[in-house]
Amino acid sequence: MEFLTYKFLQNAILASFLGGISCSLIGVFVITMEMPFLGVAMSHSAFAGAILGLLIGVNPFLMALIFCFFTAILIGPLSDRAEFNPDTAVGIIFSVMIGVAFLLLAMIPGPKTEALSLIWGSILTITRRDVVLMAIISGIVVLLITLFFKELQAIIFNREIARSVGIPERPIYYGILFLSGAVISANLNTIGGLLIFSLIINPAASAYQLTYNLKKMFLLSSCFGVFSCLLGLFFSSLFNMPAGAVIIISSSIIFLICLLFSPKKRVMKGNYE
């Protein structure tokens, strides 16, 4: 257990824990509200924003956050309009952002180690400051889900019905979009901009196979998220593998197992727990 006294490892374990929780909680919204496009667009905007931050010498997290906010403002109204398929909007935003990101990447002079780590993530090199930031964002996510659980449940069920019973659906929906932006920005240098999408989708998709209860789904999703992250950390520190890649592979394996053993495949009347 002596290795646990290493500061970088402590940071990495904390980051796995916090990243796993926050991403997989956001994932529950992405999966249940059928908006996987959101995660794709957000993660690439955050990525482009962070690289711009590195280029102009502004805090990459802050720039990622700003980019995410603008993406949310853009996606929100587009997905509200029936005449515009949100996937089309996201396809455009996604490709523009990835183009911008690589353009900016090419403009960074000298070695691009820091920028490249935003693509793949580097869980072993993150600082205590990063961990504190992740802790704050994860805390906010957990707090908001607890406080607004009943409204979120209604919106997950159906946005139009939530609005029709007098729930302030729009502000809460936009809150979800912004929150996912904040979570993605905070986790960018741990998991990496290209891989974070899977950490959002996979644990929640796995939990979705197992339960008909939303609270349990949040709980299971965060367990899967944390487990995948710790597994990623374990392999990356032991065998010098890229942590992000291991996280994605392990969370995908969890998903496959859940899919295979999903009780939802054989629905028995009267037994839905």
């Binding site: 005449e83 009943k150 449940q153 029709s164 209860n213």
Partner: protein, 259 residues
């Protein structure tokens, strides 16, 4: 008596199509109104004008004395129960029937507040009235069309509304379920003293409590009056652009295309 719903020259449009043109009408407390018309006539839009889900282009909507605006829409929605057309629900949706009924209360309760004992009681009453107690633990995605409609109605009742808006509640149901839901709607209307507007696609299964008929065509109001007066061959032939036959007897009304 003051009207509970008042539309003044209301126009609503989606993209370049005008969904409702210059509609004015008054609805009085306790009325049961059937809204009918061909596809795309603006029937659903009329309902969404009343609960503020549709965006007003011109005109004024007043519900329970309150003029509809971005600020007052939430209040109006809280006193208006809305049963939309049958929804497509993912069978894996992690929400059960009880939760789906309960969320009708959430608007009234308000954010950051929990359900009180009274809220629980109101929800329980709605569950009893709609006879869905045996379904409560079922996932919402596992219900039949008729069961889903009952849950929707229970959700609307648990809002303790003054107005009930129903959008084609009998569509996609088998004839027995249609009869079942129609009786339920009439019972709810009567026992809760509601003002009810019900959009209907077929005029063969009309609620006995309905007294007034509103007919819409291409966003225009072409008839608004007593139910029996509207069920005439010339009016309905003009409405549907084909020769319509109306057969009335003591059992009810049969409306069909003349062959």
């Amino acid at each position: 008596m003051n009207p509970i719903i008042e539309l003044e020259k209301v126009t609503i449009s989606y993209r370049e199509n005008v969904a409702l043109k210059d509609i004015s009408l008054k609805v009085f407390p306790g009325e049961f109104i059937v809204v009918a018309g061909p596809n795309g006539a603006g029937k659903t839009t009329l309902l969404t004008a009343i609960n503020g889900l549709g965006k007003l282009l011109k005109g004024k909507v007043r519900v329970n004395g309150v003029i509809m605006s971005a600020r007052t829409a939430t209040y109006i929605r809280k006193i208006t129960g809305y049963v939309p057309q049958v929804l497509r629900i993912d069978p894996r949706m992690p929400i059960n029937v009880r939760e789906a009924v309960m969320l009708g209360r959430y608007g009234r309760i308000g954010v950051l507040r929990r359900l009180s004992l009274r809220d629980e009681k109101v929800v329980d009453e709605a569950i009893n009235l709609t006879k869905i107690r045996h379904l409560l633990t079922r996932p919402i995605g596992h219900l039949s069309g008729g069961e889903l409609q009952k849950v929707s109605i229970a959700r609307a009742i648990s809002q303790e509304p003054q107005i009930l808006l129903l959008d084609e509640p009998l569509s996609n149901l088998d004839i027995s379920a249609q009869e079942d839901i129609l009786r339920l709607i009439e019972e709810v209307h009567r026992s809760k003293n509601l003002t009810t507007l019900m959009v209907m696609h077929y005029l063969n299964l009309l609620p006995r409590s309905a007294t007034r008929l509103i007919l819409l065509k291409n966003g225009n109001l072409i008839f608004d009056g007593p139910l029996q007066e509207g069920l005439k061959e010339d009016i309905l032939s003009h409405l549907y652009d084909c020769r319509v036959e109306v057969i009335k007897n003591e059992e009810g009304v049969l409306v069909r295309v003349k062959r």
